[in-house]
């Protein structure tokens, strides 16, 4: 059986750089930092007191009060971004909704909901007074559930959880379901909203986050010698993936084609990256093989690049191993330098960035670079500090998650 071709027909994003796809792209293209002091809670006693929040967010702009109250913030972001993608794709009219699925990614789910209900219980006398919406708001799959309920999509529906690889895994799963013929279109991507006391305190305890409170704007600086950890972000990125013949039959606009997905595991440590980078080598090789392309065909890699001392170097060494001499011809950039790290939402917004790079012929930069890291090969093009113009035929998006999960997704400029 021949696999079906799968194309991207809709995009959506709510990010620290902007709350729509055009606003997000404008931030990426111009190299804006999304970091600022935390406003979601009093962080004065925390080691890290800044993050990349979605700016000026008010749920009342998107939901009626009763509806919004029943969704954790990560689900609100999921519904907002997917609405944009669904409208962009024109997916509400003239399609068989039994054949449209939702496969979403979230690394944590409703962290704020869990935290608030637990605080509330701890403040009482031991009598349980849990809100009946506690569990349905908290569970990670309330995101994909709410998207399907709102739009009537009755196809395959679930959530993938693999920490910071979650939404890339969702995208690969969506690609697989469509190419196997189990759905004609799938709303996919991912969201996260972990800028809470528990989220910031927990990642601080892991010593994973930047503590550059005196210079928050430049704290996310992948591949810089002075990088000191990731900056927590929040938001959602959404894609509509669709069988090519289905998109063609209804005259949908096509942004790009998804041509491959690779998965692997480090099998090494629950949080530390394997310093040999073997799992990361494997995931990119798997993605290239699935896509049926050679390393030389790739123009741009949107890296995982979280700005941690260990992780950034391991990924770059792996890229050099997989791509050899061609590594010097690649554009490499980490858009996390601008958006911060959306954890389970990262693969969603970075897939959107990769597709827009193909569409516009512009590579979004790795901002905040000032000091070269002697451990990294200076002949590589990290797209430091300013966007670069380049015709992009093939873009690869890498994400890796705690647990040792690695996922690479490959998009190509669409040709008949």
């Amino acid at each position: 059986m021949a696999f079906r071709r799968v194309v991207v027909t809709g995009l959506g994003a709510i990010t620290p750089l902007g709350s729509t796809v055009p606003a997000y792209w404008e931030g990426l293209r111009t190299g804006v930092s999304g970091a600022a002091p935390i406003t979601r809670f009093d962080a004065s006693k925390f080691k890290t007191r800044f993050a990349c929040e979605v700016k000026n967010y008010n749920p009342d702009d998107y939901f009626d009060r009763k509806e919004g109250r029943k969704m954790d913030l990560f689900t609100q972001f999921a519904v907002i971004a997917s609405d944009e993608a669904i409208q962009d794709a024109g997916l509400l009219e003239g399609v068989n909704k039994d054949r449209v699925g939702v496969i979403w990614g979230s690394g944590i789910g409703g962290l704020k909901t869990f935290q608030d209900e637990s605080f509330n219980f701890a403040k009482g006398d031991g009598t349980p007074r849990y809100n009946p919406f506690f569990i349905p708001k908290m569970i990670a799959d309330s995101s994909s559930g709410n998207i399907s309920i709102k739009n009537g999509f009755r196809g395959p529906n679930f959530v993938t959880t693999s920490a910071c690889a979650s939404s890339s895994d969702a995208i690969v799963a969506a690609y697989n379901y469509i190419r196997l013929g189990m759905a004609d279109a799938v709303v996919t991507g991912g969201s996260e909203a972990a800028i809470t006391e528990a989220g910031v305190g927990g990642f601080n305890a892991l010593k994973a986050m930047s503590e550059r409170n005196d210079d928050a704007l430049t704290a996310s600086r992948p591949y810089d010698k002075e990088r000191d950890g990731f900056v927590l972000g929040e938001g959602a990125g959404a894609l509509v993936l669709e069988a090519y013949e289905h998109a063609q039959a209804r005259g949908a606009k096509i942004y790009a084609e998804i041509i491959g997905g690779g998965l692997s595991s480090d099998a090494y440590h629950i949080t530390a990256p394997d310093p040999t980078g073997e799992g990361v080598v494997l995931v990119m090789q798997n993605a290239l093989r699935d896509a049926g392309i050679k390393p030389e065909d790739v123009d741009y890699i949107n890296t995982h690049g979280t700005s941690t001392p260990l992780g950034d170097g391991a990924e770059i060494k792996a890229i050099q191993k997989v791509f050899g001499e061609h590594a010097y011809n690649l554009n490499i950039s980490s858009t996390k330098s601008m958006t911060g790290h959306l954890l389970g939402g990262a693969g969603g917004i970075e897939a959107v960035a990769s597709i827009l790079a193909i569409q516009h012929g512009v590579i979004p930069p790795t901002i905040n670079h000032s000091t070269d890291d002697p451990e990294l090969d200076a002949r590589l093009n990290f797209t430091f500090n300013a966007a670069q113009t380049r015709e992009v035929n093939v873009a690869m998006s890498n994400t890796f998650g705690f647990g040792g999960h690695n996922t690479s997704v490959v998009f190509r400029r669409f040709q008949e």
Binding site: E67, N131, P132, F133, P136
Partner: protein, 78 residues
């Protein structure tokens, strides 16, 4: 209208996102005010918290309208 009735109406308006004019004594939470089973559980919990009472499940089942909630709470509120 009693103080209890005012508070009950305010809770219903807040939790169910309905207009004050809809919250009549005869209005049924599920049939008229758009509540599902979870909304109803949440309403009962809010009444318990606001009026410092404990409403047993078998009695909560009999509170299906605005008027039934008000009379139950006028009788049992401390």
């Amino acid at each position: 209208m009693s103080e209890i009735a005012e508070k009950v109406k305010a809770i219903i308006i807040d939790k169910l996102g309905v207009e004050a004019s809809e919250v009549t004594p005869e209005a049924s939470f599920t049939n008229d005010l758009g509540a599902d089973s979870l909304d109803t559980v949440e309403l009962i919990m809010e009444f318990e918290k606001e009026f410092n009472v404990s409403i047993p499940d078998d009695q909560a089942e009999n509170i299906g309208t605005v008027g039934q909630a008000i009379s139950y709470l006028e009788e049992h509120a401390k």
